[in-house]
Symmetry: C2
């Protein structure tokens, strides 16, 4: 039966275990923490008594006296975009490996993020990681000045002491531009998100800047969201142009829109990879599927997450990260805006000519 509940006994405490093992309560603590001296056999006896009773130290109570719980607040949002789910998944895995416990704060939309950030502090976490929304500098300051860490993933930290790591969006955009130009493409278009999407805007900028260096420019199709449907809408705009006026080199600031673009072009007499080249961004799973085979950028997610965790570890030890050291020899750089940018990696498939 899934019926009802068992209202168990009031939870056991270390005192109960002490009684059972015939020792002081302090020894029970030592048996579990490993701090302070304790005879091996006493410890054994205590562990057995605890197992018998089903007791484990109360982490909440412990944090009370140590003034520190291995808690990390994570701000996230709907996982409808695969990239978001990937980011969260990698973070969760890394936390688990580091014995850090993520406390998740879910924002239905970007506006809620600041409020959640405020709610965060009641939990006295070691710090917070923002993976959604825009960082309010004063909020970041409030968190940092309590001695908590503040990390932003794929967004600017907006604060001199915040930690921020992102893919090098501008570099990705520039790489896309150079690749398309080298293929001999000359009429360019960008399928972009809204201008207030930081990542999309930076990718677009990088694309346009590199094009400019090559003496070319591009039309930009902005979209309110960065979905499959937006990509299809962009395909309609593409098809609105008659044959030889159509762009022949298209960069989409994320994969979802690129896939929608491909869908919108099916059965329209346009051969992608031949008539027009297309490059996306994110390398989501579907981009490698048979009907798409999209050339795109893989974000160095492992690298970015590893850097966040190194920052957290350094913060815990009260040290500051020496970025000069930690970045040399890696594909990452610390920018003047305070963000660590990690180079994305192009994945060649069939929507460009130059598949290796």
């Amino acid at each position: 039966m899934a019926r009802g509940k068992l209202s168990g006994p009031k939870g056991a405490t270390s005192r109960d275990v002490a009684r059972a093992a015939n020792v002081s309560q302090a020894l029970v603590s030592r048996a579990f923490s490993g701090n302070g001296r304790i005879a091996a056999d006493t410890r054994q006896r205590i562990l057995e008594a605890a197992a018998e009773i089903g007791w484990q130290p109360n982490a909440l109570a412990a944090s009370m006296v140590t003034g520190d719980a291995p808690l990390v607040a994570v701000i996230t949002t709907r996982l409808t975009f695969e990239w978001r789910a990937q980011v969260l998944s990698h973070l969760l895995k890394s936390f688990q490996e580091s014995d850090l416990k993520p406390l998740i704060f879910y924002a239905e939309n970007d506006d809620e993020v600041d409020r959640l950030l405020a709610d965060t502090i009641t939990w006295r976490t070691r710090g917070v990681i923002v993976t959604a929304g825009v960082v309010n500098p004063q909020r970041a300051d409030a968190i940092l000045s309590r001695g908590q860490f503040f990390a932003a993933l794929n967004r600017p930290g907006n604060h001199g002491h915040a930690f921020s790591v992102a893919t090098d969006n501008r570099l990705g955009g520039a790489m896309a531009a150079r690749l398309l130009h080298a293929e001999g493409r000359r009429r360019f278009a960008v399928i972009a998100g809204p201008d207030d999407s930081w990542a999309s805007a930076r990718r677009c900028e990088g694309f346009l800047a590199a094009l400019d260096e090559a003496g070319a420019d591009a039309v930009v199709w902005n979209n309110a969201d960065m979905s499959i449907e937006a990509g299809k809408a962009s395909a309609r705009r593409f098809l609105d142009h008659s044959g030889n006026l159509r762009p022949d080199g298209v960069f989409s600031t994320n994969d979802a829109m690129a896939l929608g673009f491909l869908d919108g072009l099916r059965d329209q007499g346009v051969t992608v990879g031949k008539d027009v080249s297309l490059i996306g961004y994110d390398n989501i799973a579907a981009s490698s599927w048979t009907p798409y085979q999209l050339t795109t950028f893989e974000q160095p997610l492992d690298e970015m997450v590893a850097r966040v965790l190194a920052y957290i570890a350094a913060h815990q030890e009260g040290k500051s990260l020496d970025f000069a050291d930690s970045l040399s020899g890696t594909p990452c750089r610390l920018d003047a805006d305070g963000v660590i940018y990690c180079a994305p990696k192009i994945v060649h498939r069939t929507t460009t000519r130059s598949h290796s």
Copy 2:
């Protein structure tokens, strides 16, 4: 600069706020909790002092004395399958709305789940929700007997007092069988996961049982994982049969395999929806995309998550849920195995004939 950290002052306490507002520390507590009498203007003064100092009650300390923190442990795993991400996303949203804080435990594989379940108790959460792996009945018992709740999502609770809600996998399988049979299909195949995948096995069973009632049977293609690649492998098995010996009604126990199956059949002279009908399960986003248009089952995720939250709320109030009441008039039923099964909904697209 993203450099360094600010090692802030030792955190403020309610005592600091009390001092600033010139009241006792107890009043500060009352100002925030709303419990106990307090003059409106005193409260106002305290709130202002707290805002000035940047203090909020320490939830960890509060939980210490109340013996209850609004914490929920969630066991999850890699979010590589979109369905998993959807489940977690809905849970997180509902928790946020209920002021419940999810503490996430991440299992890299199913074997770790039992260990994580054990780790769970040190946090003294209200209970735990399992969304990955298999439930060990003794572990469930240990958790329930401490008075915590225990809920399993899309898996059996394996314990008389555990709460479990899932889609009606057998019903879905049976619906698929009846639909294909009604279309006039007569040679059936199931693209299934491993036999130890509870959901996949139940879907398969339901399909075979309904077929049996109609005097038909099916070949079952088991796959070690339920991925796109597994679906492609199944397509190869399909193509191994010569023309009129091929199955003409195929049921895949999840969408990923169904999509892979479609990909494996492209450019092979097989028209899905005409030569063969295909039905999936999950209704992931890609199933509605142009190249797929898969007929599939939508799982009643909102319904399932709402039921989990109702269970948590009832547990909190010390009441047991009256399922007889809560289920009447809904598309859900309490099965003899203690699981609440909610009916999936068919979504007709073009991989079957009978698209409405």
